[in-house]
Symmetry: C2
Subunit: 327 residues, 2 copies
């Protein structure tokens, strides 16, 4: 089993690489080769000798870079490479090039090589939703993105669906909820506070809550996202029906519920580390993201989410402690 | 007022050209210049001296052809050029090039010239809908096209919406119902019978009905489509809200109702000219098209459809007779 990952040096790419190596197989076939593509060199994982790892540093929208990766005819391609939403909003042509043109080149490259049974798993996003949304979003709710990142993802989704329908590739697009708890430090992303609100107090550090506590978000732990990506390679093609694209089963949580879970898991001394400093800009962006989804299709296909916030926090603490102990 | 039309030599393009000249203005500004682009030379209309008409024959996906047309900085662009559904299904790269890449080039060309207030009116299609559809489609029903033409139109819609949101162009996308009664002769299109069923018997000729009479379609007369295109240039940008793309208010009619209207308008002798010769292929294609829409957005913006089938047939007879009398 030859697996290729684009965006392999990113947060999800590195975790997925580790998860694939740990799992050792996909669809019952042992993992024999990994192609790790990113614009910077992805960290080369420690592997047993039976696994060949090729690390490719290059521009994913450069056809010669893609050709080099596709020459090995991967049976599964994880397409995680993307310019994030703030960058795609700041630079339309950069976003179009990386988020859309590269997807198209990947599809055309696969079609040209006859890789019709190669499973292409792309990560899409809650940012593809927007417009006059219903209270609870369903699988047939329109994508009317209100940002260029979401637009480019929605266009890529359409193309993957059409290539799959035509039998040129075997696609699967997973729309990811907001991921909490991300490791690391707060960053410029509007959703950064959602991870920070739990991560910093659990580490004995201060955190800032910039939004009203009744604000709701649709969230999933990084651990469940990785499980979903692994599963995305194993769903039988015939099970998808008329659409290859669907929202993953996140859970709807309010900020108040996040703070409550924090207190339950780490006590009142953790809760007092959170200061409430309202930020109108962040509130406007985050409150425009839909927070309630039905995710009937994902569940019917067997995708599962976190049970609750306690589950999400426990997974974060387990991974943090494993990392701290160097295991 | 400088108006550019792509696909100007086509059925709708020629009718729109005539309607614009007859109307003489858009948004209260007198029509001063027309740029008619198509791959073949569009017929040069008879015009008064105050109107400059430029006829451009060329490939719409060729940037130099588009540049030539955009150099005159049109204030309204009607983007009607398209490879039709059967051709786009037969040749994926041709469809992508004409139905999607040309739209993108047009948007990029307008953005590069700073034509931010130019109203771009694109014709999209009922073919953009598909998948697990509800009984009655609404403005927020997802586009999950089951054909490459619909995919390319849906991708173009997303791009026009994003360019409009960013203030780079002022877009408006009208999804057209099945158009009846088209003039001319039966052709290879799966929907050809829908016009033929009325047109031929009204002319004293035979027609074939290849589908069950309980089959429903969502239809609009060419006359109302042209009215909608004219209106599409005049809707204030602020009225669109979060989406520039919507279905036009067609009417839902069954084949039985079409035959009934034919009998009422032209008598039993017209009805007997229709033979019923079931065709499974045509039935499969046409019955996959949704036939019931709410079209709340279009109606709120002031778009109107035909009152009923009698209205559609009367408009057809009026235009046919005008043509026959050379007026």
């Amino acid at each position: 089993m030859h697996v290729m990952i684009t965006g392999a040096a990113g947060f999800l790419g590195q975790r997925l690489t580790a998860a694939l190596i740990e799992k050792g197989s996909l669809n019952g076939q042992p993992l024999s080769r990994l192609t790790l593509l990113d614009q910077i060199e992805a960290p080369r994982p420690e592997v047993v000798s039976a696994l060949t790892v090729e690390v490719v540093a290059g521009d994913i929208a450069d056809i010669s870079v893609l050709e080099r990766c596709l020459a090995g005819e991967p049976q599964v391609i994880y397409h995680l490479a993307a310019v994030v939403s703030s960058a795609a909003e700041a630079d339309l042509s950069l976003g179009m090039r990386v988020n859309f043109d590269a997807t198209r080149l990947l599809l055309e490259g696969c079609a040209a090589r006859g890789l019709s049974t190669t499973r292409l798993v792309m990560a899409s996003s809650v940012a593809a939703y927007g417009g006059d949304l219903p209270e609870i979003l369903e699988d047939m709710t329109a994508l009317v993105p209100q940002n260029s990142y979401g637009t480019q993802k929605a266009m890529s989704e359409l193309l993957i669906n059409d290539y799959s329908r035509r039998g040129l590739i075997d696609g699967c697009v997973l729309r990811l909820p907001t991921i909490i708890v991300r490791p690391g430090r707060p960053n410029a992303a509007a959703s950064s506070f959602a991870s920070s609100l739990l991560r910093e107090p659990l580490n004995g550090e201060a955190a800032i809550c910039p939004v009203p506590t009744d604000l709701e978000m649709f969230v999933m732990s990084p651990q469940r996202v990785i499980e979903a990506l692994l599963k995305g390679a194993e769903v039988p093609a015939a099970a998808f029906g008329l659409s290859r694209c669907f929202m993953l089963p996140g859970i709807t949580v309010s900020v108040a519920e996040m703070l409550e879970a924090l207190e339950q898991m780490a006590g009142a001394e953790a809760l007092v580390r959170v200061s409430h400093v309202p930020d109108a800009r962040i509130t406007a962006i985050v409150s425009s993201w839909p927070a309630r989804f039905e995710t009937r299709k994902a569940r019917a296909l067997g995708f599962t989410g976190d049970a609750d916030l306690a589950d999400i926090i426990s997974l974060h603490q387990r991974d943090r402690d494993v990392l701290a102990n160097g295991n």
